[in-house]
Symmetry: C2
Subunit: 196 residues, 2 copies
């Protein structure tokens, strides 16, 4: 095997696909992104990286709240639509059945199997830390409440096989959505007997 140097990129395969909800000028808006990560268990923290051109960013900065909604594979078209159509041009406030929680300004999607209601606790601007030309806002949020219908839970805990999330392969050529495939093994277990 020969290791070739390839053009540097933030290659990650796959990424989850989530719909970020924000109230912008008092109206619910949703955008699809793949740059999202867990950060901490207690308190539960999550980060999103959202292009500063996005309409959502205005509302997140104003209210210091956002939501992370996990769509299922059968929501692929409406999810992709949210990624294609900017909220600057299209009103996306009525394409979902929207609900609000205790933060009151983080719109969530009833149709999505899983919703995280987040309060911004920290922000990082990539144009400041790395002189990025088209900057991204990294919003770190505390998950103050989570919501899911009973049918997506097993013993009260979200179950990925029931959620059937949409996953994304991001690429400079074509980006594609995929389903989750077959289970390979139990983590923090299957490697216990590994011997080199």
């Amino acid at each position: 095997m020969t290791k070739n140097k390839i053009r540097p990129g933030s290659y990650l395969f796959p990424t989850p696909t989530v719909l970020i909800g924000a109230n912008v000028n008092g109206k619910a808006n949703f955008n699809a992104i793949g740059w999202v990560s867990g950060l901490e268990f207690g308190p539960p923290l999550i980060s999103i990286s959202s292009n500063q051109q996005h309409h959502n960013n205005v509302g997140i900065k104003e209210n210091q709240t956002f939501s992370v909604n996990t769509p299922s594979v059968d929501m692929v078209e409406i999810t992709d639509y949210c990624g294609i159509q900017s909220g600057k041009k299209a009103d996306k406030s009525e394409i979902f059945d929207v609900f609000y929680g205790e933060l009151e300004t983080a719109p969530m999607i009833k149709e999505a199997p899983l919703n995280l209601e987040c309060r911004v606790i920290h922000m990082v601007d990539t144009s400041e830390i790395a002189k990025a030309k088209m900057g991204h806002d990294i919003f770190i949020g505390e998950v103050v409440q989570a919501y899911a219908d009973e049918k997506y839970l097993t013993n009260g805990i979200p179950d990925m096989e029931k959620i059937k999330p949409l996953v994304l392969s991001q690429s400079r050529s074509k980006s594609r959505y995929y389903e989750i495939g077959k289970e390979i093994g139990v983590a923090w277990s299957i490697g216990a007997n590994y011997k080199k």
Copy 2:
């Protein structure tokens, strides 16, 4: 459908599975994590969130470098082993064929289809921003070089279907590894004709 409030958590399904490489006290060490995210295209930035108890964090802080290695499904056992065995107790410097790039202190895994060589440009400590009891270090790295064998590329670009990455369902009950499943559609395309 009834939305139930569930215990708040940083639920994300799935997460990628990557092996983070660092030199700790002059020796290569590798740990498996799922909390990783792209952040920016130009320059390419990536974040990892790594428990402050991890051996890796010592080396990343010392050298201000780390690597992100994407294992394929056939590396599931050795990947899981890296997540189970702390570098404080086990010497993981020789379980892979290790190579170094221009940063000289970010060990990379030859067997892994894709390697990102990163220089730390920013750090966030969750015990500072959120009073986390068992804190995580969020390392934001610039990808200074990327490496992949020709067989994982299509037109010079990493191709997920060739890489066959390992994905993780993290859960408070059992965490599990999965394969990528079937393609559903082209992103920023399949939703173009969505009508509410």
